[in-house]
């Protein structure tokens, strides 16, 4: 079945095959939403699962995401023309003083792959900028990344900025990054800690369920 072909090609990171599969599926009359949900998103859920279980590794996740994006590009105009809803919305960035973007980008890719709308604030994001983005975009989830022991204090400052702005109750804050731990997340008053991109999607889903 064509959706299975799309799914397995996406998991394997075969960009050209995904593109061909998506085009063929559209020609056969499948709906863009069906292709997205049961082909591309279904594939990325498997990818996230395999990644979490150490069956596949970062480069394989990257190449699968690239294949998925190639498929999404074809159906995106059709989807946007329709009324499709996102799962939920997240605003994500790396804290002030920290320029690491790999982990953050993996999380964004996986969330988008799972049907989320994601606003990427980039790196070196000041607490006020996180707050302003939440005021503007009204997400359910804020993802905060820090990869250095030295920028972890900026995570605390970010959580505090939400408290000061009176917005803490409006969002769930998930923190992650190599030096971050569950205990640290609790200590600074975040809602959750995600250890990798796959579990970030699962945890974010749990928080908005």
């Amino acid at each position: 079945m064509i959706l299975d072909d799309i799914k397995s090609a996406t998991i394997a990171g075969q960009k050209a095959q995904v593109e061909n599969g998506v085009k063929r599926a559209l020609e056969e009359g499948l709906s863009p939403g069906d292709i997205l949900d049961n082909g591309l998103i279904a594939a990325m859920l498997v990818v996230g699962e395999k990644f979490r279980n150490n069956e596949i590794f970062v480069p394989e996740m990257l190449i699968a995401a690239r294949a998925m994006q190639a498929g999404v590009r074809i159906i995106e105009p059709l989807i946007l023309a329709g009324e499709r809803k996102y799962v939920a919305k997240a605003v994500i960035g790396t804290v002030k003083g920290d320029l690491h973007d790999i982990g953050k980008n993996l999380v964004i890719m996986m969330l988008r792959g799972a049907g989320w709308e994601v606003v990427d604030l980039g790196v070196d994001v000041a607490p006020e900028k996180f707050v302003a983005a939440v005021q503007e975009h009204r997400p359910q989830i804020v993802g905060v990344s820090a990869l250095l022991t030295t920028t972890m204090p900026a995570m605390k400052a970010t959580v505090e900025a939400f408290v000061r702005a009176g917005l803490r109750e409006n969002v769930k804050i998930i923190v992650g990054g190599a030096p971050v731990s569950r205990e640290f997340a609790t200590e600074i008053g975040a809602d959750a800690y995600a250890g990798d991109a796959g579990s970030a999607v699962e945890i974010a889903g749990g928080l908005v369920a």
């Binding site: 590794f57 480069p59 320029l99």
Partner: protein, 263 residues
């Protein structure tokens, strides 16, 4: 050649617990083992302790020096914490970890390097962000090294850290660093080059293999200092073997002593 032992870092669980319990014996033990295993410098990092970093730095520095007479590598982004650690470091010439071309950090850390006549680990980055190519890194190096030298830091006290990006997310990351090392050696032969050895393997299985191969490759290209776990026997074995094979171990004496010390 310089080995900085990386184990005293509060992002490691056992160290964090030892600090919380003020378990000086544990810290002394880890410091002693690292020196015995070949570390010339002991890194001290307590950056995870948000509010008490400077105070803990003081305690760690004192505690480590009860066990070993090795010079220390004071590791913090916070100038106050650096100052505390440096002011208490008693043996040899301390290292500051780190300075960079970022304006704020450069201006805050430089006075400490001069005050304590410390060696500096200088990150190859500036306010333009993380470097990707060898060219990005060299643009920073060509400003940072002359700036430091003009300010009074001797060329031989500068340890450039090219900043290691995982090869799993950017497959040219390793080769860009090797190219950076070759260019630094060509343009600034007296400057030292240092890096940590775990970033390169992020996201891939069998990380130790990549870390070990990367040490050998970077050393061959001209890197002459590493921040690593000196208690990792295989890594230290490759370290001594590479030194000998590169002609940097007269009469293979270090290799032989390492062998006799049980490596």
């Amino acid at each position: 050649m310089l080995i900085v032992g990386e184990l005293i870092n509060t992002s490691r669980k056992s160290i964090r617990e030892a600090v919380e319990n003020r378990d000086a014996a544990y810290i002394r033990d880890i410091a002693g083992k690292q020196v015995q295993a070949g570390a010339g410098y002991i890194d001290v990092n307590c950056g995870t302790l948000l509010d008490s970093e400077a105070e803990v730095m003081g305690w760690l520095v004192e505690t480590v020096q009860e066990a070993v007479q090795a010079p220390l590598c004071i590791d913090s982004p916070d100038p106050k914490t650096l100052d505390t650690g440096l002011s208490l470091a008693r043996f040899g010439q301390p290292v500051i970890n780190s300075i960079s071309g970022e304006k704020e950090r450069y201006e805050a850390v430089l006075p400490l390097a001069l005050k304590y006549k410390a060696k500096v680990i200088a990150l190859c980055m500036d306010d333009g962000g993380m470097p990707v190519t060898a060219g990005d890194r060299m643009r920073v190096v060509r400003k940072l090294v002359p700036d430091l030298v003009c300010a009074g830091v001797p060329m031989g006290d500068i340890y450039l850290d090219p900043l290691i990006i995982p090869v799993g997310t950017s497959d040219q990351a390793g080769s860009e660093v090797l190219e950076t090392i070759r260019r630094i050696k060509a343009e600034f032969p007296e400057v030292h080059i240092i890096c940590g050895l775990s970033n390169v393997s992020y996201g891939l299985p069998n990380r130790k293999l990549l870390n070990q191969a990367f040490m050998i490759q970077t050393m061959t290209a001209g890197m002459d200092a590493y921040i690593l776990d000196p208690l990792d026997h295989t890594m230290m074995g490759f370290y001594y073997a590479s030194q000998a094979l590169l002609g940097k171990d007269e009469f293979c004496m270090n290799y032989l002593s390492a062998y006799r010390n049980g490596l």
